[in-house]
Amino acid sequence: MIRAIQDIAALGLQTLRSAPQLRRRRAQVVGHFYQMANASLLMSCILSLFIGGVLALQSGPLLVERGLSFVIGQLVGLSMCRELAPVMMAILMAGRIGSAITAELGSMKVYEEIDALLTMKIHPVPYLVLPRLTAILLALPLVVVFSILVGWTGGALVSVMNQDIGITLQAYGSALRSGIDFMDLAQGLVKSLVFALLIGLVSCFHGLRTRGGPRAIGQSVTQSVVQSIVCILVSDYAITRLFVFVE
C-alpha cells in the first residue's frame, strides 16, 4: 500500500518533469479531452438533474413546513457546489474515464506496445501519461461546473413544480444568488482539480504496471476504480477540512 502510494507519487513527479513537452502534445490533449467530455456529459446531465431534484424533494417539504422555504435554493446550491457535483462527477469519471485509461494502457503493456515505445526511445510518461492527465485536469472541472448548473436546474424544477414545496422560481433564484459566493465555487473547483489529478495518476499507474494477459487488465481496471474512489473520498474530507479552516 505504502509502496503503491510512493510509486504513484513518483509517477506524478515524472509527469510534472515532462510538463515542458505539453506544447508538443497539444493535439493528443485535445483528442483525449474531447473523448472524456463527450463520454461524461450526458451521464453527468442525467445524474446532476436528479441529484438536484432529490435534494429539493427531500428537504423542501420539511423546510416549507417550518417556514424556511427561502433556504431551499441555498441548500441545493451549496450542496451541489461544495460537495455533490465534485464528488459525484469524480466518481463518474473514475468509473468511465479512469477505467478506460487503465484498460487502454494495460492492454498496451500486455501487447508489447509500451515495450515498442521504449525501444524507440519514446518514454511512456510524456507520450502517454502527460496528455491523459492534462486532459482529465481540464475535463473534470468543466464537467463539475456543468453538473452544478444542471443540479441547480433540477432543484428549481422540483421546488417550483412539487405541490408540497411550491415556491416561485424567483424565490428559488434569489435564495441561490444570496447563498452562494466565490469560495463555494472555488471549493468545488479545487476539489475537482485534486480529484482529477488523483484519478489520472491512479489509473495511469495501474495501467502501466499491468503484467500478464487479459485477466490482468481486468484486475488492474478494478483496482484502479476502487482506489480512485477511495482517494476521492479521503481527499474530499481533507479539502473540506482545509476550507473550513480557511473560512
Binding site: 501487447y111 526511445k121 519514446i122
Partner: protein
C-alpha cells in the same frame, strides 16, 4: 529523403545471468554476433529465448553480465544513443490507436523530430520495402490488418529507424507456412540490402535453417556454440537432434498396446 546507410553492429554478451525468484532463466550466456550476419537463436518454448532477447534490447536488466554493442555497454545511455537498434515484436507491438503510416513514422517524429515531409518520404519508402501499398495500406489501423501484414508493418517500422542491429522475436509465429516463408525471405533480403545485423529468436526450425548464417540452440537457459545450418544438421547433440527431427508421422502415432 533517403537515410544514410547504417552499417551492421557487433553484439557481445558475457556471462549473462538472470533469475526470476528461484527460477534461473539465463545461466551464463556468452556470445559474439558478428556485424552484418543473420544470427538465429533457436529453441523450444520456455527455453529463455525471449527473455534473452528482452535483455539484449534493454527491456530487462540482468542479475549479472555485460551486453556490448560495438564495444559500448548497454548501460551507457549516452553512447548507446548513437547506436540504432530496433525490434520486431512477436505480436508486432503496433500502437492500435495509430494508423500504419503513423506507426512507421513514430520514431522519426517523436525521437528524431524530423519534418513531416521527410517523415512521409521515409515512411513511404519503408512501406514499399516490405511489399505493402502506400495508397491502400498506409492509412489502415492495425486492427484492420492480417497477422502477416502486421508483421510486415512492424518490420517497416523497424526499417524506418534505419537500425544497425535488428531483432526479431518469433517473426513467423501464428503465420501460415507460405506467409512465414515470405517473411523469412524478407528478413534475408533486408539483411543483404542494408547490411544490418539481424538477430532472430524463433522456434520455427524451417525459418532458422532457411535464413540463419549462424544458429545457436538454447535449452534451459544455456546457449550452444553457434553453428552454420549445415553444421547444425550434422550435430550429435541429442537435444538439438530431437528438436530438428521432431514431428515425423511416427511421432504422432499412439501406442495401441500400452504395457
Amino acid at each position: 529523403m533517403k537515410p544514410p546507410p547504417n552499417k551492421g553492429v557487433e553484439l557481445q554478451i558475457h556471462d549473462l545471468y538472470r533469475s526470476f525468484g528461484h527460477n534461473s532463466v539465463l545461466r551464463g550466456i556468452s556470445l559474439t554476433i558478428p556485424a552484418g550476419c543473420v544470427f538465429v537463436i533457436m529453441g523450444s518454448s520456455g527455453s529463455g529465448k525471449s527473455v534473452l532477447l528482452r535483455h539484449m534490447v534493454g527491456l530487462e536488466a540482468p542479475d549479472q553480465g555485460t551486453i556490448l554493442f560495438d564495444g559500448v555497454s548497454i548501460l551507457d545511455a549516452q553512447a548507446m544513443a548513437q547506436i540504432e537498434l530496433a525490434i520486431v515484436f512477436q505480436h508486432g507491438g503496433l500502437l492500435h490507436s495509430l494508423s500504419v503510416g503513423e506507426n512507421i513514422g513514430l520514431y522519426l517524429t517523436e525521437t528524431l523530430g524530423l519534418p513531416p515531409r521527410e517523415v512521409n518520404d521515409r515512411v513511404n519508402q519503408a512501406i514499399e520495402q516490405v511489399g505493402l501499398s502506400v495508397t491502400q495500406d498506409k492509412h489502415k489501423l492495425p486492427a484492420d490488418l492480417s497477422g502477416g501484414m502486421k508483421k510486415r508493418v512492424a518490420i517497416a517500422r523497424a526499417l524506418a529507424i534505419n537500425p544497425g542491429i535488428l531483432f526479431y522475436d518469433e517473426p513467423t509465429s501464428e503465420l501460415d507456412p507460405i506467409t512465414a516463408v515470405t517473411i523469412g525471405r524478407q528478413i534475408r533480403q533486408l539483411n543483404q540490402r542494408h547490411g544490418t545485423t539481424s538477430i532472430v529468436v524463433t522456434h520455427d526450425r524451417d525459418l532458422a535453417m532457411g535464413i540463419g548464417d549462424q544458429i545457436a540452440f538454447m535449452t534451459q537457459g544455456t546457449l550452444s556454440r553457434p553453428q552454420s545450418p549445415a553444421e547444425l544438421s550434422q550435430t550429435t547433440e541429442l537435444a538439438v537432434q530431437d528438436f530438428l527431427q521432431a514431428g515425423t508421422r511416427e511421432d504422432y502415432q499412439i501406442d495401441s498396446n500400452p504395457s
